[in-house]
């Protein structure tokens, strides 16, 4: 039996997901941006703008080719997210700055958020 394997682009080596811990639901429709820091100038260069989908994920953050060692920043528009549900938030946005050194690994940088708290961890 032939198996036809569709050629699909490699998944992003960096992924995220957002959980709304106040309601225990995915943090869907949250805008986020990924930035890469230029090593010499320390200026932030925007790589992607995206929105979390119904499963709270945002695929396609970066390609393997773009993914170099260095400092990155994920910016989550948390204030906008809560405002779209008619609520205020203590945090107008959340930025998570992290260092990538080993390109052979996969990196998962989630955000668990309520209006008055948030947490993150390095997953894979």
């Amino acid at each position: 039996m032939h198996m036809i394997i569709a050629m699909s682009p490699s998944p992003s080596p960096l992924t995220t997901h957002v959980l709304n811990t106040a309601l225990g639901v995915p943090g869907s429709n949250m805008t986020l941006r990924l930035y890469q820091q230029q090593p010499l100038t320390t200026v932030w260069h925007r790589i992607t703008t995206g929105t979390t989908n119904g499963d709270e994920r945002c695929p396609g953050l970066i390609t393997q080719e773009q993914f170099k060692p260095g400092v990155y920043k994920l910016h989550f528009e948390t204030g906008q997210y809560w405002a779209s549900m008619g609520q205020t938030s203590f945090y107008p946005y959340v930025e998570i700055v992290f260092t990538i050194s080993d390109l052979g690994q996969r990196y998962h940088v989630p955000l668990l958020v309520s209006r008055f708290s948030y947490s993150t961890y390095r997953g894979s």
Binding site: P92, Y93, E95, V97, F98, T99, S101, Y118
Partner: protein, 119 residues
């Protein structure tokens, strides 16, 4: 005897990897200047042996606005001979009612952190 009024904004750093206070961590407090859209530094400090950093801001200087607490987590873990996923942690928050008290703890390991609004 005059007693200095304590800061209406406080923080506390906990090293959750080792189960100890995050002592001797450098941190700074900034307020967003909305005219120029740049961050102005209000104070710089280092956490004490208990992970606290008193005197972040005076009651008079604590006006409504957007603030940022920046923790030098990378340097902290380097000082313990470890690497950290996060070179620093910045927590940006909005103050509408400065008459309240705000306690912003940071619970962190070299691969995770969390914070909340307390008082």
């Amino acid at each position: 005897m005059a007693v200095a009024e304590s800061s209406p904004l406080t923080t506390h750093v906990m090293n959750t990897s080792d189960g100890v206070p995050g002592a001797k961590m450098a941190l700074s407090l900034h307020r967003l200047d909305t005219r120029l859209m740049i961050w102005s530094m209000i104070s710089v400090g280092t956490t004490n042996e208990d992970g606290y950093c008193p005197g972040l801001i005076s009651r008079e200087a604590f006006i409504p606005g957007m603030y940022k607490l920046r923790f030098e987590t990378g340097s902290y873990w380097e000082g313990l001979g470890k690497t950290s996923f996060y070179p620093y942690v910045e927590i940006v928050f909005t103050i509408h009612y400065p008459a309240e008290r705000f306690h912003l703890p940071l619970l962190m390991s070299s691969f995770s952190y969390s914070t909340c609004r307390g008082n």
